[in-house]
Amino acid sequence: MSVINAPLVGGASASAQAAEAAASRGIIRTILRSPRGVCAVAFLLLVIIACALAAVIAPSGPIVQDLSAVNRGPSSHHLLGTDALGRDLLSRLLYGGRSSLVGVAEAVLALLVISVPLGVVAGYTGGAVDRVITRTADLVMSIPVIIILLAVLAMFGRSMSTAMVALGVLGAAGVTRVVRSAALAVREEAFIAAAEVMGQARRDIIFRHILPQCRGVIVVQTSLFAAIALGVQTGLTYLSLGPAPPAPTWGGMVGDAVTAFYTSPWQIVPPGAAIALTVVAFGVLGDVVRDAIADTHSAGASGRPPHRARRPAPAAAPAEALVHVEGMSVAFGSGADETTVVQGVTFTVGAGEAVGIVGESGSGKTVTVKALAGLLPRTAAVTAGSISFAGTELSAGGRRAYRRVRGHGIAIVTQEPMRALDPTFRVGKLLADLVRAVDRCSRGSARTRALELLGRVQILDPEDVAQRYPHQISGGMAQRVAIAMALAGRPKLLIADEPTTALDVTVQAEILDLLRGLQRETGMALVLVSHDLGVVAEICSRVCVMYAGEIVEVAHTEELFAQPFHPYTRALLNASPGGRSDTTALEVLPGGVPSPRGWPIGCHFADRCAFAVETCMAAPVPLRPVFDADRQARCVRAEELAAPVEAAT
């Protein structure tokens, strides 16, 4: 109750998707499916029915005194004991609950009557109406609610009903904002536009589409508000600002109990527990609906990392390889939820070599390089295989092993340039801090080196850019800065994850040129991840093609373009506009990449493959050399399928 505006905290984030999920499932079913929800609903119903039937089930009247039995503990005669005037506590609790529950109902009703129409109208209509409603709501949200309630009680002769309605009216401001953002999000949905085009009346759209979609949010907000309203109601009656004694109120009973605490400490338990449990029940109800809503959106994002497998003794890495990844698997989640997303990945990168990793989204390419860089999210872990860098085993060495190679050994440029830079730091400071971290030099020389690095990535005015914040530079510029950060430690290996995807076409070419130039000058190795074979072909001498968590083909770039062995690579080449031009039409693969939980036992690609035969489905297909030790493919028919194309060309 002390945070009157509490529904605002975290409420807006649930927003419309929330509503949508809950509405589509049926809110009541959502609540009843969770044990917590069932308990909360059952308890609230029990309290409501018991209080409504107070006149029938209460052992005595609420103000009947029995001075021969004052301050008694619970007994068969008085189930919850008696107070200082010998009044039966159970009876007072039941009768007192009426005023509390009625008060909550009044506040909630006032809240809904105001906030739902205003919120829906503001969100759906937009424009000036929206602005007026939102501004007013903002203003009302800053009103010290409790003082207004006190003023109401002072002037309306302690009328608790008036005060609770006032609480509802003032609380409506925050809820209006939440409903508004829910309605706003629903309005953006395609089916609303469709309904508008079809000429449905606005009123129909509001009642048939917008309101049902906002139901979840409204339920969450209402139950959290009810919890607050009960806190306020009991608090005001505790201050004896409500119905005058001897009328029973829950708050008043707490007050009486404090007075009688020396002689009979028990008395504080019944009203205290009643208040706490009822408030909890309202709170839990809101939480259950909100969690149900949130779950549908963050499934798989939570949970613990899988157990790391005991690793086999690392196989001796080939002497010339800088990076050697052997049989690496990565999984998300743990226990029954453990999902392997990358499986048995093996590849090497020689010193100074540029290797591309190509695949559709969902193929596991980003997870593969994140695992290589030791940057998997908390919920994921390497579950099998080994990763060695310059002869050091990294995956077994854990954090410490990675700390030693980061910066000087392995460096990374993450996917989205606009998210790669801490938005709260000036670019120059960010870069200089990183230089100091990897070089352990003075501030002055770190600054000089930072500017030098900015020049290195062909930023024309390093002094000027260094002074800017990330939001003040373009995406291409941000990517250059990110590359400069990666260069700070003069790495032996640079991992670039989709370095051009988020950028304009012209900028893409510049960044690729930059990467190629830097790689040549510095002699560092490069692992480039892309969904675009054309991008990889420009820089990389070797390519690993990934599909559904596995590497399906490894080859030198020219050979891969000239003669793909795996049917998936072939499809990828045909689908890539920059790829082969010998096909008449752009081939589109039927179906989609299977999700990690739906991987088949056999070849992951078999379902979509035009050449699949029974042996493809029967057992896992290994990655194996085809014709040549340097070329590998994960296809049982690789040699056979390669032949006719070779003949044709």
């Binding site: 003023a151 002037m155 309306f156 002769g157 706490a276 408030v279 460096a411 790669a420």
Partner: protein, 318 residues
């Protein structure tokens, strides 16, 4: 201009403060006109003599029209005159100024406790997780479930009445005796900050976890910055922004909570004055407390804006 944003933020807050003060006092004045029958009679109750009623009518400006009364009060406010208490005849502003210190002590201490303990718990539970996260959920449920006055009451009966660890009630100013001041504030501040600690800890945990997964953190970690430096300079700074917003809401909630807590612990602050004035129907005093609370809310929002602006360069460099 480097400090320009600060001037802009303060300007905006002062501009929004004016309609807010007008709105709050207008509502309280308007309530008067809704009161059935003669407000002065209702306010004074059944034992009022006609002279008393006439005097109150005059004092409240009830014999004038409602708008004229409102205008008169507003003109008074501009000149620093908030009227006089119906009950004691004392000047409302001197009455309020005398009690402001108590309420400020409560609110500032509670917000500090919420911030320090909340961020500490949030940090621990983000990095350690497991049982601490569960414990945090339980504490925040308790924070929401137990109304402030109930927490206060239970603390009084357990730690003051029964165990006599802390004084149950009363107040000593900081100037009189810092030790006694502290002792008298421990229990009220604990009761007031329970919900704040829980809200801040939850928000801190969520935003720290979110920051830890951010791409810019992966960039720093992946390119050689130490975990300690990442946490101190980058994670905390980015996680602080939503925490500051929640802290503002906590501060405003705490201000409202003082009304209950000052009554439980018999502290002579603005909140207990408001409660007493409600019982006494002392309208000018309620109006004055409303004004002070509104100004405090504006100040809290201003501090939140400034804190946010210091952390978020987008505010500074627009």
């Amino acid at each position: 201009m480097r400090g320009g944003w600060l001037v802009r933020i303060i300007g905006i807050r002062i501009l929004t403060a004016i309609p807010l003060v007008l709105l709050v006092s207008f509502i309280i004045f308007a309530l008067e006109s809704f009161v059935p029958g003669n407000p002065a009679e209702t306010i004074l109750g059944q034992n009022a003599t006609p002279q008393n009623v006439a005097a109150l009518d005059h004092q409240l400006g009830l014999n004038r029209s409602f708008l004229v009364g409102f205008w008169t009060w507003l003109t008074g406010v501009v000149h620093g005159n908030l009227g006089t208490s119906i009950l004691s005849g004392e000047s409302v502003s001197s009455l309020l100024d005398g009690r402001l210190g108590v309420t400020l002590s409560l609110v500032i201490c509670s917000v500090l406790v919420s911030a320090v303990v909340g961020v500490g718990l949030g940090l621990l539970s983000a990095y350690r997780g497991g049982w601490l996260g569960t414990a945090l959920d339980v504490v925040s449920l308790a924070g929401l479930a137990l109304p402030t006055f109930l927490v206060g009451t239970v603390l009084v009966v357990l730690l003051a009445v029964r165990a006599k660890v802390f004084p149950a009630t009363g107040y000593v100013t900081l100037a009189q005796s810092p030790v006694a001041w502290f002792e008298h504030l421990v229990l009220p501040v604990c009761s007031l900050s329970l919900l704040g600690v829980a809200s801040v800890a939850k928000q801190a945990r969520d935003s720290i976890l979110e920051a830890l997964e951010a791409d810019y953190i992966a960039m720093l970690r992946g390119n050689g910055m130490s975990e300690r430096e990442i946490l101190a300079k980058h994670v905390l700074r980015n996680a602080a922004m939503p925490v500051i917003t929640v802290l503002g809401l906590v501060a405003i909630g705490t201000l409202g909570g003082t009304v209950f807590i000052e009554s439980v612990f018999v502290l002579p602050g603005l909140g207990s004055l408001a409660t007493q004035s409600t019982v006494d129907h002392d309208l000018p005093v309620i109006l004055g407390v409303g004004l002070y609370f509104t100004v405090l809310v504006v100040c809290i929002n201003l501090l939140v804006d400034i804190g946010y602006g210091l952390l978020n360069p987008r505010v500074k460099t627009r």
